[in-house]
């Protein structure tokens, strides 16, 4: 059957991907969008210059199962916690995954603050998909 219309199979994972703040490096996040698409997920791509408020609104409207942010401007230690706080304030229990240039020393700090997974440059497609699936499964 060409038409998928029953809910008997595994529900499709919906992921919101965005660049938060003033960071124009979007090559990586576009690759990640494609990797997740090819793994059968529905990727809602918000693009550049998003705010925590616009990401929260999109996550609500799109009923996101996970949020992925790409960070390449060394703002992660400020931006990731503010994103988590915004999700908490909106009472949204959605895993946050960070990708991009994250120095190794910062990884435990981000993990400690509640980031569900961190994907560095060169992370293979399989690792990206596993991280998203794992983060979603851990919340359901």
């Amino acid at each position: 059957m060409a038409i998928e219309s029953t809910n008997t199979e595994q529900p499709t994972i919906r992921v919101v991907l965005a660049k938060l703040g003033l960071d124009g490096h979007d090559r990586g996040i576009k690759v990640v969008a494609r990797i997740l698409r090819d793994a059968g997920m529905e990727v809602v791509y918000l693009g550049l210059r998003q705010t925590t408020a616009s990401i929260v609104a999109a996550a609500e409207e799109e009923d996101a199962d996970a949020i992925g942010l790409s960070m390449h401007n060394a703002g992660h230690l400020a931006l990731a916690p503010s994103m988590l706080a915004a999700l908490h304030d909106a009472d949204l229990d959605i895993p946050l995954i960070i990708g991009g240039i994250i120095p190794e020393a910062d990884i435990p700090i981000l993990e400690g603050s509640g980031v569900a997974a961190i994907l560095g440059p060169g992370a293979p497609a399989e690792e990206v998909v596993t991280a998203v699936r794992g983060a979603v499964a851990a919340r359901t």
Partner: protein, 314 residues
Amino acid sequence: MSVKKLSVPELVGRALEGDRRAIGRMLTLIERGGEPADEITDLTHPATKGAHVVGITGAPGAGKSTLTGQLIRHLPTLGLKPAVLAVDPSSPLTGGAILGDRVRMDDVAGDGGFIRSVATRGYAGGLALSVPGSVRAFDACGFGPVLIETVGVGQVEVDVAGAADTTVVVVNPGWGDAVQANKAGLLEVADVFVINKADRDGANDTRRDLELMLDLSHVSGLEDGTGYRPPILMTTATDGLGVEAMWEAVTAHQAHLEATSALERRRAARFRYEVASRLTTRMERSIARSLDGLTPDGRSPATVAADLAADLLA
């Protein structure tokens, strides 16, 4: 408390009160289909208020998302509370999708309006199977108008005309000549034409070709049946130019529909269409069940199909 743990009636109740997370979750269940979706249809149907449904369709890259983004910025200034269903294609190979329409609708989400990205999930025709149910849900939750942005379409994907009260067809300068304009299909379903990217060369040629095409509809008597001639608007969506005039044309069409009882006819047709599509879905499930494990047994395919049909329809 997570909306995922609510029962369907509780979820719909919260959604009808305007809880955005509940609305988002309800749309997910509608998209997944099956019994919860049917239950939501039953619960939202009595709460509908008859929101104006506007389809926006056209080729990939014509500017549908950018126009829709401008509309949802404009409509709240008129005291309206728009909702958008932005449809993008699912991969036929993996089922995955990149839903990118929000990129061109930034700064508007959460501002009273509501944008939902929808994947086609294998449904052809330019929409997703769930669209009528999602439109009803938005209507019941007090949104209006409901804008449906189709996938980028070719010449024949005209399902949106069955799902909307007013269909806007977006074309661009240099899209083709007068012969293209008179081919059957997409252009026939337009209630409003928009020539977007009108700052580019050839916009007036495109306008002339469309006007000529509409003149010929007049010659054929198609126009007389309705007394309505689709207007042609010029827009430059990236700058918002022409968007207000475009919306005026959409509301003029709505007024025409209301004045001529055409609205009632369209909505009755839409009702029949939705019942037919739900019936088809049920039948397809039954067909899938009867095909399960079927192997060649020497009888012709026609005979096997006739026998199975007799069982299915018994």
